[in-house]
Symmetry: C2
Subunit: 274 residues, 2 copies
């Protein structure tokens, strides 16, 4: 079901700034029985992303009510999507300080990825598109996602699960829909997302897991060469959990001990569900 | 009136990829009695932008019919907006090759800018935000416009008509909603838009006007220093026509002969209207 500003609607005004300019942010998260295992992190990230764009974030209790309502008639696991836009507005880039955000809360059945992806690992490719630097938007899960769309259109081989993207300087940033970690000599590293990329909630959970486990995990620039020479490469997002990479082009990898550690951290860091 | 896929609707599906990812393109153009003076250029640019994103561009005759319908009940000059998105789709960046685009055609009354803007010129500021380089999207009037939104939010002084943007290398690219020309020693120049920026139809008309008039107009990288030391700075778009700049921060300019030439070219390059 899709709720727009709390009403089962399925449609938004054609003059919404989310459509006109991609002026908004979003979240994608798994729900079980209408509840999110990591809601607090998702809401905190939504609030931070809204704040970065000067958007008023909808109250947490309202979103929780709407998430439950959106999957009230559903059976089985669901994927929720929350979009918050700047709301309706006249033509022109300027927005009113009192603009009323539009919120879109939807749920749809969760289609499980092949179990193989988490167990044996995934094949990935390096995308030709390079991500543009924009520090003012880096890390934010905003609605300007044409780079992701163009990158994802670079392959249609269903045996390739993800494409990895670098910036123009040849530093790896992440996948089209995942964050990336590399493991080298027992230590982890993940790209600093200060110029581009999306800083996901699962990335944050892995960073916390590494901290708790006493595994060093650097957040820094990582050149493409380091990816190819790493012992392990691991992709993460809220729906995938953690996928070991088993192939990037010619280079084969094994699903190694740090992929398994990350998977263990992610399966055991339950918060009180909301 | 707003037509969505030809129907007076005012709303689009909440699952439209234009909203989800900014996966689409748009045009803004003035209409007089339901007709556009430069329709051929606008349609050609719309078609080129669609092609750049792998979108099917709606047929010209359909759009013309819908433009007339959108302002059928209106009196006075109108501003039309055409949005073409990738259409409805499931979650995920991948799109189907046979995705059916959504087209949104709307018209609203044209609010004239102060006559002073074209006569005496406008005050502009330099925005702090720098535009990110993305050659794959440069020049295209796509729906990923958060940079423009953030830049426009840098001022609310109504006496400032526009903000100018540079790239991270300090090269001027254009205004939040305009293209820019500089005049130096009787010659014109406008930024090359190969890494960022939007290549507008009016910019193209000025380039053609300069060619016809035998005025040199280079399309090249232009440093910010060159803007401040230029004899004239001129801003253009489809609704504004050409505005001389009379002030950028501390630097004052006069509306000079090349601003007047550009205005003359733009007032006399009528195509057969469509």
């Amino acid at each position: 079901m899709i709720l727009v500003d709390g009403m089962p609607a399925g449609a938004v005004r054609a003059t919404d700034r989310g459509l006109a300019y991609g002026d908004g942010v979003f979240r994608t998260l798994p729900l079980a029985e209408g509840r999110s295992r990591h809601w607090r992190r998702h809401h905190a990230k939504l609030a931070a992303d809204c704040a970065a764009l000067g958007l008023a974030c909808p109250p947490e209790s309202l979103l929780l009510d709407e998430l439950r309502l959106a999957c009230a008639d559903a059976t089985g696991e669901q994927v929720a999507k929350i979009i918050v836009t700047r709301g309706d507005g006249p033509r022109g880039y300027a927005y009113a300080q009192d603009a009323v955000p539009t919120r879109i809360v939807s749920a749809s059945p969760r289609v499980a990825y092949p179990a193989d992806y988490a167990e044996r690992g995934v094949r990935v490719m390096k995308c030709r598109l390079t991500l543009g630097d924009q520090p003012a938007l880096a890390g934010i899960k905003h609605l300007n996602r044409l780079e992701n769309v163009l990158a994802r259109a670079e392959w249609n081989d269903p045996s390739i699960a993800e494409g990895l993207l670098c910036d123009a300087g040849g530093r790896v940033i992440g996948g089209t829909m995942t964050n990336v970690f590399i493991a080298t000599g027992g230590e982890l590293a993940t790209p600093a997302l200060t110029r581009c990329g999306v800083a996901g909630v699962t990335r944050e959970r892995v960073l916390d897991g590494a901290r708790s486990a006493g595994v060093p995990c650097a957040v820094r620039d990582i050149g493409w060469g380091e990816v190819l020479s790493a012992d392990e490469v691991i992709l993460t997002n809220s729906l995938a959990g953690a996928w070991p990479v088993r192939e990037i082009g010619e280079r084969a990898f094994e699903a190694g001990p740090l992929a398994r550690s990350i998977q263990r951290w992610l399966s055991s860091d339950d918060e009180e569900t909301a």
